[in-house]
């Protein structure tokens, strides 16, 4: 049997297995080598960056690269700004999307289907179409060079997250709700004390994805933040790159540092990533 059949039979042919492992090893190398290269470079003294053949194990290991890279620019300030955006958008995004998704999953009202399709269709709208008027609006409000334009929109839900949460809410059995209704609980109470506690896995998923998106966002901060005091980490790294394109070891140290929280979260909370993929990617 070859790869085409991929039947989960107890004993696939040896050839199929060999091909499978060979390809997986090749792909894994393609994934891992850039990471290893980055870490190795981040720990090298500067002169070892430019030798051939390259050394994979730096000697000596320059831990102080991290110190140098992170104190050269006010990265602590950038970190605080980024975290402000992260925390606020997580709160706003979770609450607004949960209540909207609950409405779409569990309540009936005229025009519901049309509204839902309208919401979904906004997923295809390229961000640049609304970018300029939105910028003009925030500019008029005097919010340019504040973190507000990067936070406030998240209080108003967004289609992909609504869709993901709605898919999850649809799987919650109706009995509990009926029982609560008979006990006289109103919609908000059912939402708050029944749905939210039951939805922890889905909420964890959207919180994690929001963290990653806010942490890595570049275009938003680039447009709205010109003053270094308000820079996020992404802008900081970009600024650092402009100054230090030759000091690759320091630049890599800064990059490793910025990637680290994302990787840690992934390793700790892997099952929520898989959950998120299954909720969004499978049956549309």
């Amino acid at each position: 049997m070859t790869a085409w059949a991929f039947r989960r039979s107890p004993r696939g042919s040896l050839l199929g297995k060999v091909v499978a492992y060979a390809v997986l090893i090749f792909v894994s190398a393609f994934v891992l080598i850039p990471f290893l290269w980055m870490i190795s470079s981040a720990l090298k003294p500067e002169y070892q960056i430019f030798i051939f053949p390259p050394k994979w194990l730096p000697q000596p290991i320059m831990w102080e690269n991290f110190h140098k890279a992170l104190t050269h620019l006010p990265f602590l300030t950038y970190f605080k700004n980024t975290m402000t955006i992260v925390v606020w958008t997580i709160i706003a995004n979770t609450l607004s999307n949960a209540i909207v998704a609950y409405g779409f999953a569990r309540l009936r009202g005229p025009g519901k289907d049309v509204l839902f399709i309208l919401a979904l269709s906004t997923m295809m709208l390229p961000g640049v179409v609304t970018m300029i008027p939105t910028f003009a609006l925030f500019n008029k409000l005097g919010w340019v060079n504040t973190l507000k334009p990067l936070i406030v929109p998240f209080f108003f839900a967004n289609a992909p997250t609504i869709f993901l949460l709605r898919q999850f809410f649809l799987t919650i059995p109706g009995d509990l709700e009926e029982a609560a209704k008979i006990d006289g609980a109103n919609v908000l109470r059912i939402f708050w004390s029944i749905f939210l506690p039951l939805s922890k896995p889905a909420l964890a998923t959207i919180i994690i994805f929001r963290f990653l998106d806010a942490w890595n966002d570049f275009m938003g901060p680039l447009i709205y933040l010109n003053d270094q005091r308000f820079y996020t980490l992404a802008l900081g790294i970009n600024f650092f790159r402009g100054e230090h394109q030759i000091q690759w070891n320091l630049l890599m140290a800064a990059s490793v540092t910025v990637m680290l929280p994302c990787l840690l979260i992934f390793f700790v909370a892997q099952k929520y990533f898989i959950e998120g993929i299954q909720l969004t990617g499978m049956k549309g």
Binding site: M1, I33, L107, P126, L251, V258
Partner: protein, 311 residues
């Protein structure tokens, strides 16, 4: 209770109406954050942007109406516009089929009885959790002509690698390679789809003595077509939204070889403050994406198979 004279069926009907009205009121209350956001951050800006595309506007003075001049200039008098369109189109044309094929291939391999599936899955998904500037910077170093890891590895086997990002003949291709780094995320979506295909279809095919190729084309592909469809649309949209790579890694160069559409639009809007012209570009992009999506959706009737559908 208020009107005991009314017969019971009418009473319950009225009560049901009231309940329905109340439920509808709750429904609208619950979705109101989205409705407000939709008006303020989607429909409103969309219409304003359409209006702006017929004006000249530098953000400081009032927009002045110039009719279709922005569009005329775009199509007849701005070679860079066409360059950016070509660059983005070429990139999508390379990236989408390559990503779909690679992701599906990897998913099928993982769907065999490979050992350590969780470890493979973790490794393959890893690049998807990092993105943005840090990744762009990392790949600049990987692609570095003299000391990057790719050219160092090539040098071991006696090949002198090109300037991956500094040679205009290679730069866009290099960005396509880089985009393949995150292909594992798509694989995992495919893997979930593969696990959903009922096993008995393959067993029945085995009894009929079908070859592997026949099973792939007659069972796997049709059964997986909704997932392929979803991934394809997402990938096309993603390709057209490329920005950070162009901004950070190449600044659109060398010789405009990576002048992505969104990057050129950004440059018009926020470096040259041609807000009207940039709005026209944004609307044209919107039209392209709608047309492409419609094409995919229309054609999907021919090749996407949904369970329970009659053929």
């Amino acid at each position: 209770m208020a009107a005991p004279a009314v017969p019971a069926p009418v009473r319950t009907a009225r009560k049901r109406d009231m309940q329905r009205t109340r439920e509808a009121a709750w429904f609208y209350a619950c979705i109101s954050p989205w409705m407000i956001g939709f008006l303020v951050f989607t429909i409103g800006p969309m219409l304003v942007s359409l209006y702006l595309s017929f004006t000249r506007w530098d953000l400081l003075s009032a927009p002045s109406w110039i009719g279709v001049r922005n569009y005329v200039k775009m199509f007849t008098d701005d070679p860079l516009f066409w360059t950016s369109l070509k660059v983005t189109g070429k990139y999508a044309l390379w990236r989408v089929p390559a990503a779909l094929a690679a992701a599906l291939g990897i998913a099928m391999l993982m769907n065999q009885d490979v050992k350590g599936i969780r470890v493979w899955r973790t490794i393959l998904y890893l690049p998807n959790v990092v993105s943005g500037v840090a990744v762009a910077v990392l790949w600049m170093w990987v692609f570095n002509k003299d000391f990057g890891v790719i050219n160092s590895l090539l040098a071991f086997i006696g090949i002198q690698g090109p300037g991956w990002l500094s040679d205009p003949g290679w730069s866009l291709f290099s960005m396509t390679i880089m985009s393949m780094w995150t292909v594992g995320g798509m694989s995992i979506i495919f893997l979930a789809g593969l696990k959903n295909i009922p096993q008995y279809l393959y067993e029945a095919a085995d009894i009929d003595g079908a070859s592997s190729w026949v099973k792939f084309t007659r069972i796997t592909l049709p059964q997986l077509s909704p997932t392929i469809f979803y991934n394809m649309i997402m990938c096309v949209i993603g390709a057209f939204q490329t920005f950070t790579e162009a901004y950070v890694m190449t600044n659109g160069g060398p010789l405009n070889s990576t002048l992505f559409y969104n990057f050129y639009l950004y440059r018009n809007a926020f470096r040259e403050f041609k807000m009207g012209y940039a709005s026209a570009m944004a609307w044209f992009l919107f039209v392209i994406i709608v047309v492409l999506s419609l094409l995919v959706i229309r054609s999907s009737a021919l090749w996407v198979y949904y369970e329970g559908e009659k053929k």
